[in-house]
Each structure stands twice: as structure tokens, then as C-alpha cells.
Subunit: 639 residues, 2 copies
């Protein structure tokens, strides 16, 4: 089936092929009648997406029939291997007893008593699932790799990772095919660099290959990372992956995190989710967990990100070697901002009370420790690590004390460590259904970070028109193309003057994206990051997702910017335009996507008019942005 799909240009889609085979041999309908009906249905379903899609599906039907042959089922089992258990034997007890049963389709047989009484599920359980869905997986060419980390950054499933390690500190034992290279870091020249794929967790999307900037000089197209069939590689790479995981995590305190190159060394705490192959949203979430995951709290609006973020039976949010990871909760579609603000308010109150108690109990705790706890500089990883040590020391001092205040402080001590609170959601939530609440939270002045995973298509809800739908795109309730321009949520948020705002697109500016996340977390107030997220619902092969992100930026549809209220306080222009004057026409971006081209088939004249208006939108907005970015300062006299 997959061979036919590949050969007929269907990529990994085998639906049409397997359906053809079923009707060809099942006798439900006369064979010729069934095939004719399938073709008719293809025309009806895909006709509006263009002739080439129909032709590919027709070819797949024909090739399916010509490849159809009988596989004899032997009378006796002769295989020497057994079905693998749903999870490996080294998985923890809960995963063995509960998660594995649900994976195996026996969830109905679980007693209620086996489920967590308060609904809190253990995190970091996707690692036991081993879905093995990739036909091809990436293979590293360590000889030409420049160790930029771009493949690690864009991987939607955290299935490619990098580590630096000191060979002297690792007592050998590497599997024979485990690859390393000399580290290309000025400060870590003595170390080795390893880039490792999780062969059973990779989905084979190919974004890593697209992201790789290395071009081999040989005639054969070859990069520093390339796809190859999974099956022959699985066993060896699984051993390599296990070995890689056991190498110590890189010390966050010594990483500078000013470059994508450094980010790849930070352990992701969001891995192997059930998101679509090639998903454009998950790399942003993964990045957040790399940067702040060990002290993050996340409220997640219902939508794609809540589904792949924590649908039964497994949880992609994970923990590091110290057992720290994000706390995550799924809110309703419409109240994510308010829900996440509640997390912030709770932490602030806990912190306030804990600080009061530290002051009151300082003679018990010791003045030096108390002073350290209250005056800690937690602006960087070192400061945070030191505060964690102080909290541990505080805990041990309080352990034996039986007063109410000491017990309260023991319970609240963790709130003395700086937290990063996030609201995650899609465009449906942020632009539409939850916007009233989002606006309220942005206006609150509170230190909360909002990440909008903007696919522009209300993805999980079903592709309805929304205020995030761009002009000229087709959506449910906008079969004739969206008649008005997309809401500029980012620009709206800048009107407060007290909100950090960034519009990012990882495929067009990966360093820009990293900077925006760092600045958002550092800003002691509300932050909003709107992240361009390519999506299967856009209607093209997502292996080109990053190229489309570049085209979105280069056409001016998605100008990158950052608005930093701190600059305003310094008397500077807070609005920094981070992308260049549009260099391609809007049509050269939008007409790579079915959501736009559909209209050129169904209503060519409307498509032409709307494209013209949309092109004007781009020009007008760019002019305004550019003008604003050149404003000498923003009203504040320099001191």
C-alpha cells in the first residue's frame, strides 16, 4: 500500500488504495461498479481541490489494482518472534497496569479503582508508547553537520535531540553504531557532540531535512540529515537512543541560550505527542519547555494543543532528570486566559504568604538563609538553581518543626522559586471565542505569557471562518472566500503599551522566535506571542511547511515584530520590526495552499478581487508598521 502511495504521488496516504483493494476482493459490490463508484466519489470529494489531486487519486486506484496480489496465510504459525507488549517491561507500574491496557484497547476492563481519583495523570508517558509510525527516519551525517541545531528545533515530536558530553566522564559502553563528532563550540572544544533520533517515536515528517542548511558538494542531493527507511535501522537506533538518553543532560547553568545552537542542548519536556506528522504548532511548545519547562505552569485552551497535549492514555509533557516538568491543565475552549491567570494569582498569593513566613521565622531558619531566599536574583538559570538549593535547605530546616507556620512554609516553599505561567491555545480561542477573556488578562498587568498557535483555520474545531481567517481564504461559512481582512491581534495588543508582544514564525526566523520567548518570560507583565503554525488543513505537503512560513513572511502576510514595553520605559521606540520589506507577491505565498486555490476553481472572479484586496492589506499594513518602527522615540523624554 505505501509503495503504491509513494509511486503515485500520494505521499503517506493509503486510504484510497486500501479502500480500492477492499472493494476489489470483498464482493460487496460487483468489482467494476465499485471501482467506478470510488472514482466518482474521488471527483466529488477532491474536485474543488484541483485536477491534479483527482488525477493522483485515480492513479492510486489503478496502481492499487495492478499491485493487488494474494498473501497466503500459512496453516501454522512459523514466526520466531512474538507480538510486542503494548509498552516495554521497563515502564513504570501505572503505565503497565493502566496506560498499557488502554493502549491495547482493553480500557473498558479496567476497574474504576485503577484510575487516579482526582484526575491527575502521571506525565511523561508518551515515551512508552513506541508507535513506530514512520516509514522513513532521519539519518545523521556527522561528517558534514555544522551542529546548528535547526533540525532539533523544528522537530514537531522532539524525536531528534543533541547533547554535548565529555568522553572522559562517560565510561564507554556506547553501542557500535552510535555516532558522535567533535563539538563545534568555542567554550566546549574538549567535548563530543551527539545528534540522535528516537527511531520508534519519529513520525517521518521530514521537516528536519528541510531545515538542514547544509548542502553537500556531491551531485547526489544530500544534507547533514537525510531520510532513510526505518525498518532496517530500528533495532540499532533504538539501542543508540537508549544510550543517548543515559548521557547526562547538559547543565543549564553553563549554557548561554542566546543561539538556536545552544537551545538544542536543553532537554525538551514535551515529547512524542499525538500531533499530526509535520505539525507546525508543537515546535513552539517544545521550545517553551526547553527554555522554561522545569518551572512552567500551563493552562491550555481546548483545541488541537489540548488534544495532543494530554489525551488519554498518554501524556507528552515530561520531566527532566531531577523530576521537574511543566504542570499542565486543560481549560475550556473559551476561558483559557482567565484560567491561566488563576494559576498566576494562586502562585503570587502563595509566594506572598511564603515570603511573610520566611520573614517571621527568620530566627528559626537563620538570617542568612532567610535573607538569601527573600532577596534572590532569579533572572538567570544560575540564580534559579541557587534558589532551589536554598529552598531545599529551608525544607530540611523546617522538616522537624511542628508549628502551623512551619508546616505552611514547608508546603509553600516551592513558590519561592520563580515560575513561568503560560496560556496556550489556537487562533479560534485567541481571536474569537476566548478573546474577551484574553483581552482582560492582557489588560491586567499581571506576569503571564500567552502563546497563540495561529494556524488561521480553527483547526481542531473544523475549519470555520474566524477573525483569524485571512482575506481570500476559503473556510466553513466563507465558501466564497473570507471577505474582510484578518484581525491584527498582535497590533491590538500593542495598544496597551504594557504588554510584551511578538509575532514569530520559526521557519522564517528561528533565532527571532527564541528571542521572543526569552523576552516574554523575562518581562514582568503580560506577554503575547503569536506564532505562525503551518497545518495540514492548509492543504499542502507539510514537508514544505518551513518554506511556506518563509513565504508568509517574505510576502508581508506575516511581518515579524517585537513590541517591548521595557524600551518604552527607557525612552526608546518599543516597536521593533524584525522582517524586511515584502520581497514576493502575496499570490506567491497563498497559492501554494489549497485553502486559497480552491476559490480560484470555484469562483475565479471573486478569487481575483479578494487577492487584490488582500495584496492591498499587506501593503497598507507594511507601510504603517514601517512608519511606526521609524518613530524616533515614543513620547518619553530621555533622562
Amino acid at each position: 500500500g505505501y509503495t503504491v502511495a509513494r509511486e503515485t504521488g500520494m505521499g503517506g496516504r493509503v486510504n484510497t488504495i486500501m479502500q480500492t483493494c477492499f472493494f476489489a476482493i470483498s464482493g460487496v459490490l460487483p468489482r467494476e461498479e465499485a471501482i467506478a463508484a470510488i472514482k466518482k466519489s474521488i471527483e466529488k470529494t477532491y474536485g474543488k481541490r484541483g485536477e491534479s489531486v483527482v488525477k493522483r487519486n485515480f492513479a492510486a486506484v489503478d496502481a492499487a489494482l495492478s499491485h493487488l496480489h494474494e498473501v497466503k496465510v500459512p496453516a501454522q504459525v512459523r514466526a520466531t518472534f512474538r507480538m510486542r507488549p503494548p509498552v516495554p517491561p521497563e515502564a513504570p507500574e501505572f503505565v503497565q497496569k493502566v496506560t498499557a491496557e488502554i493502549i491495547a484497547g482493553r480500557g473498558d476492563e479496567l476497574p474504576v479503582s485503577a484510575l487516579p481519583a482526582d484526575g491527575t495523570f502521571p506525565s511523561a508517558t508518551t515515551q512508552w508508547e513506541k508507535r513506530n509510525i514512520a516509514l522513513d527516519i532521519p539519518v545523521w551525517d556527522e561528517k558534514i553537520c555544522i551542529q546548528c541545531g535547526k533540525c532539533v528545533l523544528v522537530c514537531p515530536h522532539a524525536a531528534i535531540r543533541a547533547k554535548l558530553f565529555d568522553p572522559a566522564e562517560v565510561n564507554g559502553g556506547a553501542p557500535p553504531t552510535f555516532k558522535t563528532a567533535d563539538a563545534r563550540w568555542k567554550d566546549f572544544k574538549h567535548m563530543k557532540y551527539a545528534l540522535q533520533v528516537a527511531p520508534e517515536d519519529c513520525t517521518g515528517c521530514g521537516l528536519c531535512v528541510e531545515a538542514c542548511p547544509v548542502k553537500s558538494k556531491s551531485e547526489v542531493k544530500h544534507k547533514a540529515i537525510n531520510l532513510a527507511p526505518q525498518a532496517p535501522l530500528r533495532e540499532a537506533e533504538s539501542l543508540n537512543w537508549d544510550y543517548f538518553l543515559k548521557l547526562p543532560d547538559n547543565d543549564r547553568k553553563v549554557l548561554s541560550v542566546s543561539q538556536v545552537k545552544d537551545v538544542q542542548l536543553m532537554r525538551p519536556l514535551f515529547e512524542f505527542s499525538g500531533a499530526c506528522t509535520g505539525c507546525g504548532e508543537t515546535p513552539y511548545i517544545k521550545l517553551m519547555t526547553q527554555l522554561f519547562g522545569d518551572r512552567a505552569l500551563i493552562g491550555n485552551a481546548t483545541g488541537c494543543s489540548s488534544i495532543y497535549g494530554g489525551n488519554l492514555p498518554t501524556t507528552p509533557y515530561a520531566v527532566n532528570s531531577e523530576g521537574r516538568g511543566p504542570a499542565w491543565n486543560n481549560s475550556l475552549f473559551e476561558d483559557c486566559a482567565e484560567f491561566s491567570l488563576g494559576m498566576r494569582l494562586a502562585i503570587d498569593k502563595q509566594n506572598e504568604y511564603a515570603r511573610e513566613l520566611v520573614a517571621r521565622l527568620s530566627s528559626l531558619i537563620g538570617d542568612e538563609l532567610a535573607g538569601g531566599l527573600l532577596n534572590a536574583d532569579q533572572s538567570n538559570e544560575t540564580g534559579i538553581a541557587q534558589q532551589r538549593e536554598r529552598v531545599a535547605a529551608l525544607r530540611s530546616k523546617l522538616a522537624g518543626v511542628n508549628s502551623i507556620e512551619a508546616r505552611d512554609l514547608h508546603a509553600l516553599a516551592d513558590s519561592l522559586v520563580r515560575k513561568s505561567v503560560w496560556a496556550f491555545g489556537g487562533d479560534g480561542w485567541a481571536y474569537d471565542i476566548g478573546y474577551g477573556g484574553l483581552d482582560h488578562v492582557l489588560a491586567s498587568g499581571r506576569n503571564i505569557n500567552v502563546l497563540v498557535l495561529d494556524t488561521e483555520v480553527y483547526s481542531n474545531t473544523g475549519g470555520q471562518m474566524s477573525k483569524a481567517t485571512p482575506r481570500a481564504a476559503v473556510a466553513k461559512f466563507a465558501a466564497g472566500g473570507k471577505p474582510v481582512a484578518k484581525k491584527d491581534l498582535a497590533l491590538i495588543a500593542t495598544t496597551y503599551g504594557s504588554v510584551y508582544v511578538a509575532r514569530v514564525a520559526m521557519g522564517a526566523g528561528d533565532m527571532h522566535t527564541v528571542k521572543a520567548f526569552l523576552e516574554a518570560d523575562a518581562y514582568d507583565g503580560p506577554s503575547l506571542i503569536i506564532a505562525y503554525s503551518h497545518c495540514i488543513a492548509h492543504g499542502y505537503d507539510l514537508v514544505h511547511g518551513l518554506d511556506q512560513q518563509k513565504a508568509a513572511v517574505n510576502s508581508g502576510h506575516w511581518p515579524l515584530f517585537r513590541y517591548n514595553p521595557r524600551l518604552l520605559e527607557e525612552g526608546k521606540n518599543p516597536f521593533q520590526l524584525d522582517s524586511r520589506t515584502p520581497s514576493i507577491a502575496l499570490k506567491d505565498y497563498v497559492y501554494n495552499e489549497t485553502r486559497y486555490t480552491m476559490l480560484t476553481k470555484s469562483k475565479p472572479e471573486a478569487a481575483r478581487q479578494l487577492l487584490e484586496l488582500a495584496q492591498k492589506d499587506v501593503q497598507q499594513r507594511w507601510k504603517l508598521y514601517e512608519y511606526w518602527s521609524k518613530m524616533p522615540n515614543n513620547g518619553e523624554e530621555k533622562k
Copy 2:
């Protein structure tokens, strides 16, 4: 009581005085003890509003005691006049039978059958209420009046009106004290001008006197309109008012409506509401009804404007001499924008169907009439009047025809006349509770006009902090002063590029306000007008309401602007800044109002810091506005 209030600087407030009298003579408590308790309560209640308020109240208590004297009740009734009935005998039947009973406090005795079955109450019933609450009413000095119409514009209760009339067409009969002057209009030199007060409907707020720009040369302070005690004037002025009402309304078709001077001649269709004396909201509503009331549909968010807009038993929305007036409905607090959009959608659909029917029935109707109906230019009053005539002709042609289509068209014919759909509400609705829906409606591209009556204080809901609360103001839940800046709803709306936006303040720019209303109605898309509305909850004598509006604008707290998407289409800068560089310090505006000064008493240091930040807000915003207003054009190449 009122004498004591006036003499002790309490204005019209007699609470403290009457309470003192009650306790002084009732014997509920020993007199000295009661007076001491009253004074203690005054200190507690008004202490935070400042020493002068406390002193005034103390003085009122003392003066009340010294003025206290017994009024002998005669053994026999000797009066020669009777209690007036709740409504005059010329009121319509429903008002006599239902409204009057409720006014008289006998609503409970009404049978259910007397009430309208569908909840639709007759409009224009406040005119029968004759509340007679003004101690003083305005008196016109026709000799020095320049006929500018400012007093008519600002009157919150539509209790001062102006008309031009041709003496030749009026068959005398004017009461002896009815005043007129020669019309000061270039085009209407042959006519007489009358400015008339409704003595029994005026609330005596004095805003008309404040608005009057005429300064007499005599030493005594005297304007072209001045307050004088109501009682001696009532009888004569009531006759004058009745006579004035009978003069024909000025013909809308011949008025140019480019000046406030012209607006005064348009009959208001919102009158004598139950709004507070000196209300800053109602003049905007009244203006809308003067300009578009005979073809307006209004959805009104719950709040002050819905209470005075239609609380039982009377309705201030009125009809003109042709029986036309606004259709009005009260929505929930939170859904006014959506509710009003529903009105728009219904009308658009009715209009679409009516046009279809006109085309289909053109042989029955006659091609000329059908063509006229379908191609009517309704951009001005003359065009609208002509279309109304065509609709009347259409109706009479259809009257006898019994087909379904003819009956449908007969029912829908009115939808062929251009309508003006409005959503009315306060800041609590627009900035906070209903903002999600408001945003959705503004983004819809539909032709709907939104009027936000912005008092900044969630007036009717009870003075809670909201996103409309300015930085440094005290509100419920912001006892320490609002810490963050006010949301710039007007600027936010401009980010769509397709929304007409105006920020107005009638007291600072009356012509600007009129222009904004005209442009909003003319724009075939969503419009948003945010209107500065002074309010008793601001804490000062509202006779200075217009001066405070000027101060709000002159300090830069409330910069006036208009954003017109039509200019964008013409390749011009759509953003027009309509007020001048701030000329006074913010403190010279805010510290006239108790909502700000309270904080200087309760938390002087916080007040100082917040004022400083608020002053910075003003400067930064002004700089941005000014810079934007100077942008050469907005992206569109000139053709």
C-alpha cells in the same frame, strides 16, 4: 430645605438637612445625641472625599437646626386648587389607563390584561409625566442670543428646543409671553426663530447656561440663557411650550445639517428621560435621534442608558409629526453588539427579499416605480423622503393584490428605505463585559453603528474598576487607585482598517461630535463612536460638566480623533487627529474630580506615583497619535 442647601453650598442635596430635621423633632434619640451621631456619620462617609465636603455637611446640619420651625397644619382644607392628576387629560388612552396608574403608585391594581401582550410599550410617553423637578429653569434673552444652538445641543433632557417658522404661515394665537427673534440664517432671513423651554420637563441642571457662549457687556453676569425660579414661570411657559410644539417641525429636506446651528432645528426623538440631572450621556443619544431617529433601530445594552431609555412606566423614545421614531430594544448587558447586529442582518435580509420581489413584480408595479425603488439614491434627506414616497405609492399599488408575493412585498416595503442601526451602551459593556462580542461585530464588516457612552466608571453597575478606568482613579476593587492605564478602545478599533472610529467629547468639540455622527451613519460598514460622558459618579457639580470635558481634551486624557476607512481607500491617511497638543497638565483635569482626589487623601504617595505614570501615558500616547496623524499616506499608491 432647599434654601438651606443652597446657602450652605450643598447645591440641590437636601438629604443631610431633612435627616437632621427628622431626628431633631421625632424624639427617636435624644436630640444632642442624634446630632452628634449624624456628624460622626458624615465624617465617616465623606471624610475620604476631603475636608471641605465634611465642612459643608456640618454647616448644613447647623443651618438646618437654626431654620427649623413649625408649620401649622390648619384644621380645615382651605386651598382652592386640587392635586393634579398623574397625567394631563389630553394624554392617550393607554397612558391614562396604564401609565398613569403606575405613576400614581397603583400599578399593582392593574389587571394583567391591561398590559401589552408582547411587551411592546407605546413610545413617546415621558411627555405626559410632567415631573416638575427643577427649582430653576432657563430663561431666554432673545435680544442678545446669537442662535448658535449650543444650549439645545447639550440639554440632557431635550427640554430646550428651537424652531424657525414663517410668521405668515402661522395664524397668530401665540400666548402673550411667547418670545421670538429674527432668524439669523442666511437662507431663512424672512423667518422667525423661537427658543423654548419645557418648564415642567426641565431638570434645572444649568448645562445650557454653561454652554451659552454669549457674555453680556453689563456688569451683572448674564448670558443669552439664564436660570430663574421655576414656580412663577411655570404656567406661562407651559402655554408657550404647547404653542411651540404646535408650530410645524422644520423641514429636514431643506436643512443642511453641517453646523450645530442647524442641528437645533431637528426635532429630538428622545426626550424627558429619567437620566440624572446634568447627565453627560443623553445629549449624544438625543443628537443621534435628531439626525437619524426617524429611520433608526437601536439595541441597548443593559446599564444607565437602558434604564433611562425605557424603564417603566414611561418611554423617552418619541415620534415625529409623521409618527416615525426609533425602534428600541434592550439587550442583556453582555450581548448588545451581537443583538444589534441581529437587527442589521434582519433588515438586510428583508431588504434583499423586498428588492427581489420588486424586480419580479415590476410589471404589476410599473417599471418606472420599480426602477426608482431599486436605484434610489438615499444618501441625503431628500433622497430618503423621495424613497418614502415611492414606498407609499408601492403600498397603494399592492393594496388590492392578493398573491403571496404581493402581500410579502407589502409587509416588507419599509425595508426599502435606508435604515440606521445602532448599538448603545456604556463603558462596562464596551470595554469589559461585552467586548468580545463588540470586537466580533466590528470585525464583521457590516453596516452597524456603535455608540459607547464612556463615563469610565461602570456607572449603573456600581463603580467597579474596569478596563475603562483611567490610571490613578479610585474605583471598587481599586481602592488604591487603578494601577494600569485605560484601554484605548478607539485605537484598537482602528487596527481593523475597515471600521470608522471617532473619539468625541461634546463639551470640547460640539461640531466635531456632529461630524462624527454624520460620518458614522454615512459609512457603509461598522462604525464606533466613543463619547466622553461626564457623570455624577465623577464627584463634582455637573454644572461644570462641559468645562471638565474641555479639560479632559486639553490635558490630553481624551484626544479627539476620527479614523475614516474611506480616506484609506482614497490613498490618504485615514487617521485625523482633531484636538491640539495638550495645553494643561493632567492634574489640572483630574483633580477637579473626587474619583481622583480621594486617593490624595487616603494614599498620598500612591496618588503622586500614579499621577506621574498617568501623565507619562498621556505624553506617550499623544506622541504616537501625532506621529501617526502626520504619516504622508497609508500604503495605497495614489491613482
